[in-house]
Every structure is written in C-alpha cells, then in structure tokens.
Symmetry: C2
C-alpha cells in the first residue's frame, strides 16, 4: 500500500515537525528549490490520451506548484530516442520520461505486467491491484535497481484488437499473417502462427499500404481513426484482449527524485493521480463518436468469436508460464496479480449490473 | 469541458502574465494568503470510502500546498447537522463540506443525478459524462444559484442492493416490505410497493433488530460487513442497480472559493481528481475479501433475476419521467445523460472482454 505508507510518513512528519510547518507559514514552499526538469515523451503530444496525458501532467504539476516544479514536455526524439529513455534516466542524463512500463520488456520482462496484461484486468481492477494489492511496491523495487523512481501516472481506454484486410473467422485465418503488434500480446499472436513485428505509429500506414504487413493493431478507435488505417483495412476487431487497460508512468532519475522536498514529491504524485481521472473519463468519452464515424466510412466492426478468444487465452497462459519460468521477477509479479484477481472475481461476479 | 476551460485560462494567464510568474520565482505562493477552512463531513471518518476519502482529501490538499491550504475535516454534526450543510455553506457560516450531491434532492432535485442514477452509469462512463459530456458544467450552474462552488471529488464502488430476512423470488415478495432506502432508488422501490424510509447509518441495525424495518440497503460489502446487518438478515442481494457508482463532491462557499488564488484552486481541484484514483482503486480492492468473510458467516449472496431487474428498471423509467416533468433542471440533466449514454453504448458493446 504505497500511498498508505506515504500518508503515514506525512502524518508522522506533521506530528514531530510542527515547528517546521509553522516556520514556513508565511510563504509556503519558500524553502523549496525550484525544479526545472526535462521530460521526454514516448508519444507525440498530438495523439489523444497517449501523448496528451503527458502534456496535461506537465501543466498540472506547474499549476499546483505555482510554477515551482516544472517538468517540460519534449516530443519523442527531441531529447533522446524513446527506447533510450530508460538508460538516459538511469544515468541521470535525462530527468524524467512520460512513457509506459511496457516499453522496457528488454530491460526487465516483469515491467510489461505493469502496462497491459493479455486477458488481464480492466482499469478499476488494475488500479486496485497496483495501489492496494502490492503492484506499485513491486514495480518500485524493480525500477529502483536501475536508479529509477517511477510513479503510475494514468490509464487509457481499452484498445481495439486490430485492423484486417479480410474477415477472420477462425484461428486458421490468422496463421501466416504478417501483423504489426505490440507487447505481450505479440507473443500470444506468435504462438497462434502470426508473424509479428513492431512498427512505430507513423510508419504503420505506409507498411499496410505497401503490403509489408497484412494487418495491424495500434490503439483505440479515437486514435486509430486519425491514423487512417480504415482506408486500407476495412475489418476492425474487438475486444482488444491484449490491452483492456494500459497504464502509463512517469519515470524519474531516482537521485533527483530523492532530492525533492516532500511537498514537491506530493505535487508530482497527486498530479499523476489526477491523470487517472482524466485518462479514464476521456478514454470512455471519445470512443463512441469515433466508432460512429468509422462505421460511416464503411468500416465493419467485429467481435471475436468465443472460440477464437479461448484459443488466444490459452496461448497467453502458455506465454505467461514460459516467461515466469525464465524470469524470477516476472514470476513474482504474475503470481501476485493472479492471486489478486481470484479474490476480485468473487466481487466482479455479483457487484455489477452488466 | 470544465477542465479544458481551466487549462486554457491558465495557459492564457501564463502567456500574458510572465512578469508575475517571474516575480514569485524565488518563493512560489509567497503571495498566497493562508487558507484555514472548516470542512464538515456527511460521513464519519471511520467508514471506509464514504468518510475516509474526505479525510484523505484534506491530507492531500495540505501536502501539495505545503500546508498553505487546510481544509480541516470535521465529523458529522461536529459543526452543523449534515443535512444543514447546504444552507450553511450557502450563507457562508460553513466554509466547505465533504458530501454527495444526492443529499440535496430537497433543495434541487437535479443534483441527485450527479450522485448515483438507478440503472445508470458505472464509474468510468459516469466520469466521462461529468468531465467530457457536460455534466460538471450543468452541476456548476445549479450549485452557483445557491452561492455554492462544488468540485466532483471522488467515486466509490457499486453498492449492494440490500439485506433481507427472507429470500425474494418475485416482485410480489417485495410488496408491503418496510425497507430503509436512500435516494432516487427509494422512489423506485416505492413504485413497486415497498414502504421506504431513510434511516441514518448508525440507527439501521437497531431498527432491523426491533423489526421497525424488514430490510435495508446501506452500502457496499466492505462497509455493510462492519455494520453487522448479517447478524439479523441473511439474504444479501446484488447488484445494486440503484447505485452502480456514487459520486462525492467538495462543496465550498462560492465567494470564498473565488477569493482563492489560481494555485490554491488548482491544488483543491487536482487533489479532488486524485480522489477518483483512490476511490476507484480502493473500492475495487476491498469487496472480494469482505464477500468471503460474509459467506463464512453464513450470509447467502443472491443476484436479482432478470425479470425483477426489468421490473425495477421500468419503475425507474416512470420515476425519471415524472421528475423530469416536475423540474426543468432535472429534465435538462436527465436528457443530457441519456444522450451521452446512447453514444457510449456503441463503445461498451464492443470494447470490453466481459
């Protein structure tokens, strides 16, 4: 219970440090050194949710600190290439990054479980595990080994499952396809015979047009619409079993984070908390309209059959077991998540209307 | 788009007010008068979610303002009786209150729609409508007529539908029962022949024991467990069709809110935003365990049959139509919510695994 611990520490500090509180009464924060950090982003600000939540975070921190803490948003590649941000923050040459733990599978396989889990939890359950089921604490430890402090900093809407040129009626129809796919879901697709590759957002459309790939997943309706995939592939599949919720985090150089005042740390932490409100509300608000527009453009919206979903789910169970056998951290995190989900399932089964 | 507007205003202020920003660079907030407000609560702090989120809000605002803004939490009745807080804030004799808009049906019927709606949206959809569908703006206008500024300040888990001494197998089994019930849901229960009354949380157990009431709803498993209703009524029904999500707000005297600096306003607003993260995560985390404990105590968990839910839903449609005919604000808000939900339904139907 990461946040719980922080609150207790704060309460203790208040109790024993009353004198300090009074000393700064006339001008709160006057003792705090100004923070001017550069925050690299893994996503362009023009992409709603993926990038806009990072811009928003920067504005919120500035507002609630009265300008004392600034994390300036830089577009991808403006400082360092997105995939190099982990090392740059670790080394201290970059202050902070707006990203998702799913980007660092190559560094720590387990971090992918803090970003999006195939057939995994949606937003509320995921947040419950992160903040009250031990998730955030485990993530803290894994990042800390690399000199990185990371704070969970928002959630976005479920993704779509992908765009296909042809209708997919069975797992056999998937076999042999070349498809752009991201993260743990890509490993599942490989298991069922899809040849996957990771292509950056801006390069997907031309690859699809040229036929380098037959199909692609990228994001949610409101984002995919703007990337124009519907002009080439008319079959849009749901649900995005591979990413029912995607978590974003704010990574910071740990030594720099440790040097912040308690007030500054709280400002960053609480602004990140508000990003959950914004990401969830916005993500739910903008898909219905996008789906309507896509239908009007002739896109056919499909739901995977239960059989196809079952096969993909079994493939994911295999992938998860393999990764847990390879990596001790992955095993620990995966075991924790599974145990939490079993208890949650009792509530999910009765608590909701639909 | 309430928040969007605020961000634009802030950006403008930065653009034209660069000199001011620089002037306070050495000690941000030094110009801000210290705020020491009293915040009455509608719920005791010992009740998880209902009360604890109010305590948490107070701590968050204090932390991110470095102690400059304090909204001291007062238990119910410590300042004024909960149901008198609306008038007290309006008159300026109370600074602020931790409550839910559902309490003010007697003042403004429409405010109930910003708290919990029978057969209404769950957390994500509700937040989407509030922040991106015009909900918060409408609520602002309604409160403003009474000299009150209110900020949405958190969401809690779906409620259970209630505790019954006997199994309920049809709507006929409900007829004639005396039941404690809250809010708009109570009007629905009246429609199907239940005699409802509103009893404060602490008085429910003795009323149930004495037989003054036959049944009661109160809250979610994690809260109901501690109130001990299972010792008398063994049949616990789900889902809580009357409150799939309950929103909480921070009410403030509008003149006092207007006198705050932009930084102070942002601190309150963003701390309220983080309460959504906390309320949602905590609410989802604590019910599974509570359900297990209740089952171990011999409680029988039931789900309403589809027929009973359909009948209750029809009764709610009648209630909503009656209220819309009586009250112009109710009609406007209800119409807005219905339109938003129709668009959302397209997304809900495809986007989610379950």
């Amino acid at each position: 219970m990461h946040y719980g611990t922080m609150f207790r520490s704060f309460a203790t500090a208040l109790a024993v440090g009353g004198a300090l509180s009074l000393a700064v009464a006339g001008g709160a924060h006057a003792q705090d050194k100004r923070v001017n950090w550069k925050m690299g982003s893994a996503f362009p600000s023009k992409l709603v949710q993926l990038g806009s939540l990072g811009k928003s975070l920067s504005a919120k921190i500035e507002r609630i600190s009265g300008g004392n803490v600034r994390l300036k948003f830089f577009e991808p590649h403006a400082l360092v290439p997105p995939l190099e941000m982990f090392d740059a923050i670790s080394a201290g040459s970059l202050d902070a990054a707006w990203s998702t733990p799913g980007y660092w599978f190559g560094k720590e396989k387990s971090l992918a479980l803090f970003a999006a889990v195939p057939f995994g939890p949606s937003a509320g359950e995921y947040m419950a595990w992160m903040y009250y089921g031990g998730g955030h604490d485990m993530m803290d430890k894994i990042y800390a080994k690399h000199g990185i402090k990371s704070i969970m900093c928002g959630v976005i809407a479920p993704e779509a499952s992908g765009w296909f040129r042809k209708e997919i009626n069975s797992i056999d129809d998937l076999k042999g396809l070349k498809m752009r796919f991201f993260g743990l879901g890509a490993k599942v697709m490989e298991k069922v015979g899809v040849s996957t590759q990771l292509i950056a957002g801006g390069d997907i459309y031309p690859a699809l047009e040229r036929g380098t790939i037959d199909a692609t997943e990228y994001s949610m309706p409101a984002i995919d619409l703007n990337l124009g995939f519907y002009q080439i592939a008319k079959h849009y599949y749901f649900p995005g079993w591979h990413q029912q919720a995607t978590l974003f985090d704010l990574m910071m150089n740990k030594a720099k984070w440790d040097a912040l005042s308690e007030t500054q740390q709280a400002q960053i932490e609480i602004a990140c908390g508000d990003n959950f409100r914004e990401g969830l509300a916005e993500g739910e608000a903008i898909q219905g309209k996008a789906l309507k527009e896509l239908k009007a453009k002739g896109v056919q919206i499909h739901r995977w059959s239960p059989e196809i979903l079952d096969t993909l789910h079994s493939a994911w169970d295999e992938v998860a077991a393999e990764l847990a056998a390879e990596d001790a951290n992955f095993k620990e995190v995966w075991t924790s998540l599974q145990a939490f989900r079993a208890e949650y399932a009792e509530w999910k089964a009765v608590g909701y209307l639909q």
